[in-house]
């Protein structure tokens, strides 16, 4: 895979132990330690993933670039080291029982290497190129370059990703359903964190400044993750904690431009936003602690659109050895914001002679506010019993509450999701790994909108991944979920998956077929309210949505500077849940009505190190054919074309620092159909974001203009997307 000749290595095999060693390894084992350095300047590479292939042993290098496996197999073994921005390397070490093996792994830089290791595609660390499903990654550098306010902003420009009204759709899996039900599962460091009542995603749960990377699995992942992973998975991975004391601070300030058209101008002063985040982390021996807090105040670009939020994060990591790793994460967020449901149409506000005022709301809804709080606590642990067997477990609690305040009434909800999992990773022989586990989830809600209800879910999963031939891998997996609502009528669902990857140098192919499902959220089953004069009535008999999905993809380096990835994907959905008018059109109920088919093509090209190393660029295009087969019409809220073009010009100016100029251009074509206000004029979404950054000695300044052309558009009817937005982010890291 990676020619040994390219690897500059030094292997020192000492026949005897050293004084530094606390104890001799047991028979059949040995100590393997070393350092990972950059081929450019021999500087240590911190945060590199190091693993002994075919075993449960893996760890991350410290700031010094060092790693150590005190109980590695004595047999001949392959050591993998990988890091973003470097070519991953595999180093073969000769057998040596009782030896003390010290190695230096030299990683050649490869700027096109976005994320060599991903974890979401198969629950364990995996070389990205061997992933049997499409995975996109937003790296720490991507997040820093865009200086985004939230995690959703960071991933909204990924290929095949569409976020409409806060709801995410991956390759057309979801449209917009007013926040109820998500066909995408959110993981925080691998732990499910969708809301217990609405099953939605709270993008503001984690401060974006503490996110190391976001992995997005595009396609059904129910065979590993169960319900909600019908359309894919978003895994937000929090920042690793370095050994040394680290202080990080970010100040963010900005504002919104006036609309380009005078009849729509309604403010006398510009709308501004600003926020600050501060984090402190320290590693002492095996214990590492991170504390982070921040807040944001935003006047909003629309009437009644102000937003105030505070958030905090604490992370405690215990890494006493590569064999035992435990982590405790606690996060909290509190937000108070004005409700903007629909923009004002003629007569609902001071319309100034206009058919609609997109920056204003119905005057009778002025003052409507929502208070929303979230608390997350999760503990994870992994114990490697031997080089061939590891156990893992987790416990989590996620509490959300909201209080919608209207002029003369209010709605509220309090929900809790408790989760637990135990699992094992077994390497019975070289090239084969078996993952088994069991999960339990209990969700409960108390609300005047949804009533008082609970849902219990038990699941068992197993996945077997085997090497086939010299360059192929086959994965067989199945997960069985049993779900009961209000502790009655258990319903069992099986989700199998078959996947494979193989190489035909230099092309790496991948293929997968699997079944997915989604259990209706408690909100979809039990909502009882009145909205815009129409009664919403509950449907306790709502059935699961299900799908069969497949993907065929290939990735290949076209040149030394260019990598191309293509994927054909296809999904056949059954029993999709949609809000329907019932009882003669006087009431709305969520019902299983739709058979649907979504198919399409993803094309991505990434180039790096162009023009003497100054230019990096990426181009992505997703073509989507999303059809409602029941009613023979396009599925609502699915743009046929999604295209993104990004480029950054980087220059290291002597005495000044690193200066970067870049942009993101994005096009989402006009959806063929929307579900409400179908008669409204709609346009394609076309935005251009431009940015300039300066970085020197731990200080970074990013100036950004989003939607530079002040393009006025909607993704959800009568809900305006942000106009031209200016922002300045100052980051300090010491």
């Amino acid at each position: 895979m990676r020619a040994a000749a390219l690897v500059s290595i030094a292997v020192v095999a000492a026949a005897t132990g050293t004084a530094a060693r606390a104890q001799r390894p047991a028979a059949g084992l040995r100590r393997v330690a070393g350092v990972v350095v950059s081929a450019t300047d021999s500087s240590p590479v911190a945060g590199a993933s190091v693993a002994i292939i075919g075993t449960t042993l893996r760890m991350t290098t410290a700031a010094s670039g060092r790693f150590e496996f005190p109980r590695a197999p004595a047999d001949m073994l392959d050591l993998l080291a990988a890091r973003i921005g470097f070519e991953p390397e595999i180093l073969s070490l000769p057998a040596g029982s009782g030896d003390d093996t010290t190695v230096t792994v030299v990683l050649p830089p490869n700027p096109i290497q976005v994320s060599p290791v991903v974890v979401t595609a198969s629950r364990e660390e995996h070389l990205a190129e061997e992933s049997p499903v499409s995975v996109s990654v937003a790296t720490e550098a991507d997040l820093a370059r865009r200086a985004t306010i939230g995690v959703d902003d960071a991933i909204a420009r990924m290929p095949g990703v569409e976020i409409q009204g806060g709801q995410i759709g991956l390759r057309g899996s979801s449209g917009y359903s007013r926040g109820l039900g998500s066909r995408v599962l959110l993981l925080v460091d691998g732990v499910p964190a969708n809301e217990a009542d609405r099953d939605g995603i709270d993008w503001d749960l984690l401060p974006v400044t503490e996110v190391e990377r976001v992995e997005v699995v595009k396609g059904t992942a129910s065979a590993l993750y169960g319900s909600s992973a019908l359309g894919g998975v978003v895994n937000v991975i929090t920042r690793a904690i370095p050994d040394a004391l680290q202080l990080r601070a970010r100040l963010l300030a900005g504002g919104y431009a006036d609309p380009a058209y005078a009849p729509w101008r309604w403010r006398t002063s510009p709308a501004l936003f600003g926020g600050a985040d501060l984090s402190l982390s320290r590693g002492i021996g095996p214990v590492r602690l991170l504390l982070s807090g921040g807040g944001l105040s935003n006047q909003g670009y629309r009437e009644n659109n102000d937003d105030r939020r505070v958030h905090g994060l604490a992370k405690l990591v215990l890494a006493s050895s590569p064999q035992l790793q435990a982590e405790l994460v606690g996060a909290a967020a509190d937000e108070s914001y004005g409700q903007v449901l629909l923009w004002c149409v003629q007569g609902q506000c001071d319309d100034r002679g206009q058919a609609y005022q997109p920056f204003r709301v119905d005057s009778t809804t002025l003052g409507n506010r929502t208070r929303s709080t979230k608390y997350l606590v999760q503990a994870t642990g992994r114990q490697s019993l031997s080089p061939g067997v590891a156990l893992r477990g987790r416990l989590s609690w996620y509490r959300t509450s909201f209080d919608d305040g209207y002029r003369s009434s209010s709605d509220r909800a309090l929900s809790d999701r408790l989760g637990g999992e135990v699992g094992a990773e077994w390497h019975p022989r070289e090239g084969r790994v078996i993952n088994v586990g069991s999960e339990a989830t209990y969700a409960a809600v108390s609300s005047d909108l949804f009533g008082d209800h609970s849902e219990t879910e038990l699941a068992w999963y197993a996945e077997d991944e085997s090497a086939v031939g010299a360059s192929g891998r086959v994965t067989l997996g199945v997960r069985v979920d049993a779900v009961a609502v209000d502790a009655v009528a258990w319903n069992a669902i099986a989700s199998p998956r078959v996947a494979a990857t193989w190489s035909w140098s230099p092309v790496r192919f991948r293929a997968s077929v699997g079944r997915g499902f989604r259990t209706p959220s408690l909100a979809e089953r039990f909502t009882a309210t009145a909205a815009q004069g129409i009664q919403v009535i509950p449907n306790p008999n709502l059935q699961d949505e299900s799908s069969w999905s497949g993907e065929l993809g290939a990735a290949a380096p076209a040149t030394r500077h260019l990598v191309v990835d293509a994927a054909l994907f296809w999904s056949q959905y059954q029993q999709l849940i949609e809000p329907e008018l019932v009882t003669g059109g006087t009431e709305i109920q969520f019902t299983n009505v739709t058979r649907a088919r979504v198919r399409g093509l993803d094309l991505t090209a990434r180039a790096a190190d162009l023009v003497d190393g100054h230019l990096t660029a990426s181009l992505a295009w997703t073509w989507l054919d999303a059809q409602d087969l029941t009613n023979d019409q396009p599925l609502a809220f699915r743009p046929r074309h999604l295209a993104t073009l990004s480029a950054d010009w980087l220059s290291d100016v002597a005495g000044v620092g690193v200066v970067t100029f870049g942009f993101d251009a994005r096009l989402a074509s006009r959806p063929a159909r929307v579900e409400i206000f179908e008669g409204d004029r709609r346009v394609a979404a076309r935005t251009l974001d431009v940015r300039a950054a300066w970085q020197r000695r731990g200080i970074a300044l990013v100036a950004k203009v989003e939607n530079a052309f002040n393009y006025i558009y909607t993704l959800v009817p009568r809900t305006l997307e942000p106009p031209r937005t200016f922002s300045l982010a100052l980051t300090f890291e010491q």
Binding site: A260, Y261, P263, W264, C344, Q346, G347, Q348, C349, D350, D351, R352, G353, Q354, A355, Y356, P358, D362, S363, T364, A607, L610, V611, L615, A617, L645, A647, F663, A665, L667, R681, V683, R686, T687, L688, A708, F709, N710, Y711, I712, Y713, T714
Partner: protein
């Protein structure tokens, strides 16, 4: 270099279309009446709603006060103007002697409470003689626009004041 040029030109091309733009509101409706209400003064705290209401004839008794020929949705109580185009539909063709903006105090509205709860914030006036109420005529199969009024919350008048003295005394 060609890539760099293309990378710059493509996003510029994307921005050529400005997206959604202003759309003037309809100035006429297919049936009923339409116009613009201009607000003046502070809206009282005890406001329940403000509507445009229409009478065939000026009521001559308290019992006719709630016999509206038609009324609009509640008007948004913002500063400036509020357009009520086509809100009063359907209205049959014919003449309407009194078109007014009525302010309602919080409370249950019925025949007996109407004089206490309803106030006149403004009326449609004869354009040629603004001391007189204007008569609005809706043609057969058509509509009437330009029925503009001023609603002055600083000069609310009891609706009873518009009744004949004998009727108001009854």
């Amino acid at each position: 270099m060609r890539i760099a040029v293309a990378a710059v030109l493509l996003p510029l091309a994307l921005g050529c279309d400005g997206g959604l733009g202003p759309e003037p509101a309809a100035t006429a409706c297919s049936a009923g009446i339409c116009g613009v209400v201009h607000f003046r003064g502070a809206v009282p705290d005890s406001t329940d709603y403000v509507r445009v209401v229409v009478y065939r004839t000026v009521p001559d008794s308290l019992s006719q006060l709630t016999a509206f020929a038609g009324f609009s949705d509640p008007l948004p109580l913002g500063p400036g103007s509020a357009r009520y185009t086509c809100c009063i539909t359907p209205l049959p063709p014919g003449s309407y002697a009194w078109v007014l903006v009525v302010w309602k105090k919080l409370g249950l509205l019925d025949v007996t409470s109407a004089p206490a709860l309803l106030r006149v914030a403004g009326s449609y006036l004869e354009p040629a003689d603004t001391t007189r109420l204007g008569v609005v005529t809706i043609p057969l199969g058509g509509a009437t626009g330009g029925v503009d009024m001023v609603a002055d919350f600083g000069r609310l008048q009891s609706i009873s004041a518009f009744l004949p003295p004998a009727a108001a005394a009854r």
